[in-house]
Symmetry: C2
Subunit: 191 residues, 2 copies
Amino acid sequence: MKELIEYIEKSTALSEDLINDLKAIAIEKNVGKGEVILQKNTSRKLQIFVSSGCIRAFYIAENGKDHTLQFATKNWWISDYMTLFNNQKSILSIESLSHSKLVIIEQSQLEGLYYKFPEFGLINRTNLQNRIAALQKRIFGLLTLNAKEKYEKFIEDYEVFEKVIPNYQIASFLGITPESLSRVRKEISNS
Amino acid sequence: MKELIEYIEKSTALSEDLINDLKAIAIEKNVGKGEVILQKNTSRKLQIFVSSGCIRAFYIAENGKDHTLQFATKNWWISDYMTLFNNQKSILSIESLSHSKLVIIEQSQLEGLYYKFPEFGLINRTNLQNRIAALQKRIFGLLTLNAKEKYEKFIEDYEVFEKVIPNYQIASFLGITPESLSRVRKEISNS
DNA sequence: CGCGACGTTGATTTGCCTCAACGATTGTGG
DNA sequence: CCACAATCGTTGAGGCAAATCAACGTCGCG
């Protein structure tokens, strides 16, 4: 909770009222390594804020393969936008990669806050737009880069994650096989 | 302008005030086929609403290849989020694929409106979240599907566009070559 | 200790790209 | 109104990056 408040305060002066409202609707949760936070096939509409640690959102495709949609660490929001507005059940799962501290809030409750505190709505809008920019960058990378370039870019962008995330999950984020990633890593270390 | 107002009215009752403010900041523009709406290497922060027609946002990669980021038709917003918040110059270009009617608004002006009319902010937030969902779906497709599947999914999702968009641009959206797309189309028609 | 998860390496296959050539269509200037 | 160029889609041949399949070493953990 402290971390979320600090995060918001980086953008705007925080009123007593907003803090109280936030506390009323937020649930703090500590999760251990490997713990599942959101199971697929549920239909809860949540926003998750990462206070500390590292979590991962992923899909399981029909052939059983695992595809990482997003990693999130301190001060990131994560949510299943694909089911947030369609009333479909989630096909997304979220798990923790380390001991993590989270703040979980129902989407519907947040909507009320944005309305009541326009400056908080602005933060959310900015956050959403940054997210879109990040997703567009990723699409651009998927369209233009080969395996080696993708990995190099990943290291550049996500340096923070390097220690916590197993390689096969990085591969599943980049859209390559663990074997290919291994070869790319070897090639890079030999130069 | 009429189309934008109708679009907003689908979500909320529209006040006289909001309509007037919108009219004050919006620029209507008609563009012909092939016309460039936003040149790369500018730094204007715009939101573009499509009243009618079809437009396309794309990057030119270092090797000269053209990659389509988004197609947009009636009632879609398009914008260069990657430069909206970094003060970098745009690497995105936007062109029209048919005769199109657009509404162009400066990002900074919109921010004021969201603040002044919270219900308008909500529409924008919903719109942003839907956009995120769409981008995530696309990433999932890029990670999991082969050329044929990507094209079939495209036809499913973007049926509307089929007539207007040349195949080589569809290929550049799917991340495959025009030759591959041609072969895929042949294969599909032979079955 | 022994098991399972993970990373690596090798051999082989394959889907897609590249390069090249050729119709079909469109539009433009003489 | 036709000749011509330019643009676009298609087809073929050949090559390559990455996937697949399989085996093995290593590390962490119950």
